[in-house]
Symmetry: D2
Subunit: 105 residues, 4 copies
């Protein structure tokens, strides 16, 4: 099974799709991103990286919610990433964006 299938199996075994309206999934994604960010609170990147286990777990939670929301919306993850990179490339051409800190994506 790939990651998406494992995630869906997990929620289907618990019959949790009934709770997974897209608004609450997007809300939950924000909460998980904040829990990840909390590992960097009052710290430098270097200090935060001293606890990789917590970083792994919180980043995984972000990904799991992002995958569930994509699945609910019938989005193919690789496709929406590819399409967004095309748009970003138009917005930030290599020539003018090289070494530029203005909103790097």
């Amino acid at each position: 099974m790939n990651s998406m299938e494992k995630i869906n199996q997990f929620r289907d075994e618990r019959n949790w799709r009934q709770f997974h309206n897209e608004k609450d999934l997007a809300l939950s994604l924000t909460l998980e991103a904040s829990e990840l960010l909390e590992l960097f609170q009052w710290k430098t990147s270097e200090e935060a990286k001293e606890k990789p286990e917590r970083l792994k777990e919180e980043l995984a939670d972000v990904l799991i919610y992002a995958y569930m929301l994509a699945d609910n919306l019938n989005f193919d993850i690789d496709q929406i990433i590819a399409e967004k990179l095309v748009k970003n490339a138009q917005k930030y051409p290599i020539e003018t964006s090289h070494d530029s800190r203005e909103k790097p994506k």
Copy 2:
């Protein structure tokens, strides 16, 4: 190329890794999650889903930052998702979590 390779190619062509310290990547991930959540502000899930193009773009931005942070930290995305699902399964056994709304993941 898979999604991770495309994302890394995009940032390497612009020499952007120099800006991508992990604290700012985690911060940016939170910002992108908020931009996605904004599409649901004052709306029901059904109303928000009427604009799938914006949802695609903002969810892609979340994924792109999550992938970059994983790459910076040398995490394998499929592996950290699999490990987290194992932990979640221990925390939320099927028998007791079925149909339960208490913090479904």
Copy 3:
């Protein structure tokens, strides 16, 4: 003492201003807003309001960080609110914004 004075007394008694750079204060403000939002996860407003004690605490945390950041930046809270309301009134004139859900502030 007013609220701002109490908050500053609290952090000064612990000598915490040394940690309170503005970037981490803004980051912390986001984290506290998320903890408040978490009380609404998978719930309606009505269900969330059944636990007013937690709501009080998390909203207070948001306010405390907002006040500290304002103090660090030498902003007068009542003044920046008043100035923003003037701008909002220009952006959302009463005649055209009445009953309109488009980004009500």
Copy 4:
């Protein structure tokens, strides 16, 4: 008029309370906190402080939503701040918390 009265006058003139359910107010508060945090993205505190006007506006937006949510919930802002500071003082006694970076509030 004090700040709370001005904020309420603003929303009542536009008849916006009908949209201001507490869940969306809490969601909006998170979005505004993120917009404030965005001013620090890829920057140091010092660099971000070079644009005080934007900081003023975004911090004011955070405060306005926090005040509206407090009003909806019938919380007195000064009172919930005072009560939370008492709790924080118990959790972080001056003697043991002095100079300590562990989750300063």
